[in-house]
Symmetry: C2
Subunit: 202 residues, 2 copies
């Protein structure tokens, strides 16, 4: 085993078109003393029910294209009463039927459990195999949208472990304490700090 070395920190690139995801992730990553940059690019996404697989394929693509240390994340929302809808197609569903449509599908439904799941994949440049992390946040779908911070489904998701507010009623730091995305990024950071120590590459 190689001895640990002091190596200068390198920037890791979050490849995405969604700056909101970056703003959340940056805070988490910064708390580990790491530096995250936003590389705006439209990563092709696989149709799959597995967000980890979607992220892994995306990271492979982005590393091949950019030859940089890249992170690609994919998040789905799985509502139990409707078979896991909208799943990994959360953003298309939001764009078409919207929060209103999702709430309509749950009218009169008592059992409103749901969870977010983030798949986060890291590739250390061209030809590197992705390493994948996941994070989940369980909770319930609210009866009506509440709050205006965050993005996506935040106004209708009430996480477990909170005080009944939706993600959209929380500050970014409060959301990061409970969210699927922050959990995945924390798992990545812990791994990365070890990996960097061991490989001396990043």
């Amino acid at each position: 085993m190689r001895p640990r070395e002091l190596v200068p920190p390198r920037v890791i690139y979050l490849v995405s078109t969604n700056v909101n995801k970056y703003l959340e992730a940056r805070e988490v990553v910064a708390s580990f003393g790491l530096s995250l940059a936003f590389l705006k690019d439209d990563v092709p996404e696989l149709q799959s029910e597995d967000v980890a697989e979607i992220a892994a394929e995306g990271a492979r693509w982005a590393a091949e294209k950019w030859d940089l240390p890249v992170l690609v994340e994919d998040t789905g929302l799985f509502i139990e009463a409707i078979g896991g809808f909208p799943g990994p197609y959360a953003s298309y569903v939001l764009k078409t039927i919207g929060l209103r449509g999702v709430l309509r599908l749950l009218e009169g439904v008592e059992e409103r459990r749901a969870f977010f799941k983030t798949g986060l994949a890291f590739c250390d440049g061209k030809g590197s195999e992705p390493t994948v992390f996941t994070g989940e946040a369980h909770g319930v779908i609210a009866e009506a949208p509440r709050g205006s911070s965050g993005f996506g489904y935040d106004p209708i998701f009430v996480p477990e472990g909170g005080d009944g507010r939706t993600f959209a009623e929380m500050s970014r730091a409060e959301k990061n304490a409970l969210s699927h995305r922050a959990r995945a990024f924390r798992a990545f950071c812990k791994w990365f700090l070890t990996y960097r120590g061991l490989s001396g590459r990043c």
Copy 2:
């Protein structure tokens, strides 16, 4: 230009997990004197709003894997009043919220126009670039499911040019006279007969 030659017909493979699609397509293809086989395989699908792009990438993948003349099709259902939902994610939506969920989103909605669009891509073995065909069927979403033939959204789709029956109330031949899928396959067959004449390869 090469002279036309008499060449023995070769089998073309529809790569899919959905045998219903094959049963429809086989009839269309047979009417052109061509032979279609079913190659059951789960082709990875891109997340895209463009069924032609999804089919093209799929055909590229299948040709690389099987090194055979392959067809890959992808079909979406685009309902105008709800922004084109469920679009290319029609099968995931069917599996989760079902026809009942889709009808619920349209409760009280008068404007029920919708269309199916099929993208159909052909690759003539390893390394060949996909050639893509499309077919559309315009119509309206019924108030309630009717009929039991066909598959997918057939029970709630009433095509233009018909007599008010849904696709699921029609025989396969009747559906093929009006359907998006049959239109795409007819376009392919016309092209293929010319192409085969010109290239002498298939």
